[in-house]
């Protein structure tokens, strides 16, 4: 216990450095700024802003990225409430009651309860991450290549189960992502693989190019197709920012339950934040004495999912920081950022770079505080940002992304590769393939292949090693059970309902 406090103290002394507070504030601010823009989700926001953190020192860069992540998520909630356009999947349910509250002139209360709920959830989750980080790291020491491989299989299966639509298509996306990640030089022999003799491909395809193409550019192309008249901005004055006493009392239970649900679901690999907000909303509706109020502006319907997605956003750092395995696409981006700074995510981060590990955890709390401080006064600014017509917005995003990608390696080829992936992403949406599993697999690919090869070599070519080592067998078993559950017709139907709702 004393360790925990000593560690947190170390973390806060790093995070409270004026520079790092500055990075955190800046990150939360730009994150919200971009996250507010409709049609740009959390992943796209983080992908777009990734390059601007490259010039910073590693600790500062990661703190800023974490800030961007929370900011983007909060920005998504703001658009949900004000214009009924969820900025991303995690705030889809926030639309239901949040926008109704806004129509009743209670947008201020909805936004502040979202911020307060998020902040409370953030506090709890920070302590949880700090407390679980240590023990889980020691579990990681029991892991050999076979266990790592099986764990990543489990993570990818989670992504499959949680993706909307067909399970088969999500698996296809995983395999495509794995294949794409193998382009470039072979890790062991250095042989160029699937490079088509192009020198530009010999280093492989950069992760930022894929992410920005598939999420950023593809989304813009897609948005250009849709008519922009469907926007329904709340023009009425936002009266009264603060929630009333009654609001706080009504929401407190929902915030607590949302936090618990979100924290638990966030630890699981595979995109906890989305499920947790759905789960929290459904749970609140089920236990409410007046379920008919939901969908008509019930404050619990905003408080619960917002607390849950924020808690999950934070606890999803646990698998990344302790095992080095990104549980979702945003965390995959964080891995990309860490590698660029020369940090290999995993259990050794905590022992070798304690100031980075604990600094990041402390900055989560500070990041949440920043969100409350900056967002409540700035609601008016975000609303006016939404009035910028899309025809001016999207060229700005395009040039911003182009410069960002180019600046990573000073490579024009990277920019062209991102454009190709933009078209590919556009094609994927036309055929209802989800890009998120592809990106997750793309990041996990090299790690997976390395561990697979190592495990096979150690086991002298015996593939049953994944089933004879107990931890590995357990992980594979859980993965198979999940897959079976997802394909069972009854559960599939309910899963579809959740996503339709």
């Amino acid at each position: 216990m004393t360790d925990l406090f000593a560690n947190l103290w170390l973390g806060f002394s790093v995070a409270a450095h004026p520079y790092n507070i500055g990075f955190c504030l800046l990150g939360a601010l730009v994150g919200t700024l971009v996250g507010v823009l409709p049609g740009i989700g959390t992943v796209a926001t983080v992908a777009m802003l990734l390059p601007i953190t490259f010039g910073l020192p590693p600790v500062g860069a990661l703190i800023m990225l974490a800030g961007i992540y929370y900011g983007a998520q909060y920005g998504g909630s703001t658009t949900s409430v004000l214009v009924n356009i969820p900025g991303e999947a995690t705030s889809v349910v926030t639309c239901l009651d949040g926008h109704q509250m806004a129509r009743q002139g209670r947008a201020g209360a909805a936004l502040s309860i979202a911020a307060i709920g998020s902040f409370f959830a953030g506090c709890v989750a920070t302590v949880l991450v700090a407390a679980l980080g240590g023990p889980l790291t020691s579990v990681a020491l029991l892991f050999g290549p076979a266990e790592y491989f099986s764990l990543m299989v489990l993570g990818l299966i989670f992504a499959v189960v949680l993706a909307k639509g067909s399970v088969l298509k999500a698996i296809a996306m995983i395999l495509t992502g794995l294949l794409l990640s193998m382009i470039g030089s072979d890790l062991e022999t250095g042989a160029g693989r699937m490079t088509f003799d192009l020198p530009e491909l010999s280093d492989g395809i950069g992760f930022a190019n894929v992410a920005m193409g598939v999420f950023g550019f593809a989304e813009i192309i897609r948005n250009l197709e849709m008519s922009q008249e469907s926007r329904d901005i709340v023009q009425s004055k936002i009266k009264g920012l603060m929630p009333t006493r009654q609001d706080l009392i009504d929401a407190s239970g929902a915030i607590a339950r949302g936090t618990i649900l979100g924290s638990l679901l966030g630890i699981l690999p595979g995109g906890g934040a989305v499920v947790s907000s759905f789960a929290a909303y459904t749970f609140e509706k089920r236990i409410s004495k007046h379920p008919e109020r939901f969908g008509r502006g019930a404050i619990e319907g905003v408080a619960a999912p917002e607390s849950a997605n924020n808690a999950a956003a934070q606890t999803s750092f646990i698998p990344l920081l302790t095992l080095g395995i990104p549980p979702n696409a945003v965390m995959a981006l964080m891995v990309g950022a860490m590698t660029i700074h020369g940090i290999i995510p995993g259990p050794q981060v905590m022992t070798k770079q304690p100031e980075l590990f604990w600094g990041m955890i402390a900055s989560m709390w500070i990041g949440n505080l920043m969100l409350v401080i900056i967002n409540l006064p700035l609601v008016g600014v975000w609303v006016s940002l939404l009035r910028v017509p899309y025809r001016l917005l999207y060229p700005s995003i395009i040039v911003f992304c182009c410069i960002g990608i180019y600046s990573i390696n000073n490579s024009p080829t990277d920019v062209i590769i991102a454009a190709v992936f933009g078209l590919f992403g556009y094609w994927l949406t036309k055929h209802e393939f989800e890009p998120a599993p592809l990106v997750l697999a793309f990041v996990l690919g090299p790690l997976m292949e390395e561990n697979l090869r190592r495990a096979m070599l150690i086991a002298r070519g015996d593939a049953t090693v994944f089933l004879t080592r107990p931890i590995s067998a357990g992980l594979i078993f859980v993965a198979l059970v999940l897959l079976a559950i997802a394909t069972l017709p009854m559960i599939r139907k309910r899963r579809d309902e959740v996503f339709v709702e």
Binding site: L175, A191, F196, L224, L392, S407, V415, A418, L457, R460
Partner: protein, 177 residues
């Protein structure tokens, strides 16, 4: 890639009708990708003793992709699904055009190896950003000239200030610098 989808929704002269064209053609393209990957990794050495060679994993995953792609295509053949949405042409063309133009102009490029005897000069960040902004805005049907030019100038200034002055990244700003 969009061309694949423009194929007729009926399975040629067969008596089968493609019920879910999104899945059917989606699956076919995945199979094509998998075959491409198998061909591209065909020259790599495979399993040697207990050790995987560089070619083992790509061929393994490509084969799996081909199988899953076939299953997706089969689903499309037998299960009803929505028709393929129309592909827009104008939006994607201008967006992708703007991105590629940016890539070619920022450092200059020779187009000779794709058969065009033309060599583009290195324009630097300021003109490339401005040009990319203007080209991409043409993709919108609601474009207005004055407003667009002002926004392009504003965005160029913003990017230069952010990337060059605040983040200190090394960029060539103008063609002559």
């Amino acid at each position: 890639m969009p061309d694949d989808a423009k194929a007729p929704p009926h399975g040629g002269g067969f008596q089968f009708k493609v019920r879910g064209p999104r899945d059917f053609y989606g699956g076919l393209v995945l199979i094509a990708l998998a075959i491409l990957a198998i061909l591209a990794s065909g020259d790599l050495p495979g399993q040697a003793g207990f050790a995987f060679g560089p070619g083992t994993a790509p061929r393994m995953f490509a084969t799996l992709l081909a199988i899953v792609g076939a299953l997706v295509a089969l689903t499309g053949l037998f299960k009803d699904g929505p028709p393929i949405e129309k592909y827009a042409f104008k939006g994607p063309a201008y967006v992708v055009g703007a991105i590629i133009l940016f890539a070619l102009l920022i450092r200059g490029a020779s187009l000779e190896y794709i058969g065009i005897p033309l060599s583009l000069p290195a324009l630097g960040l300021v003109p490339s950003t401005f040009i990319a902004f203007m080209v991409s805005i043409l993709g919108s049907s609601e474009m207005r000239w004055v407003e667009s030019l002002l926004a392009a100038v504003g965005m160029t200034i913003f990017c230069v200030v952010l990337f060059v002055y605040l983040l200190g990244l090394p960029f060539q700003l103008w063609p002559w610098t």
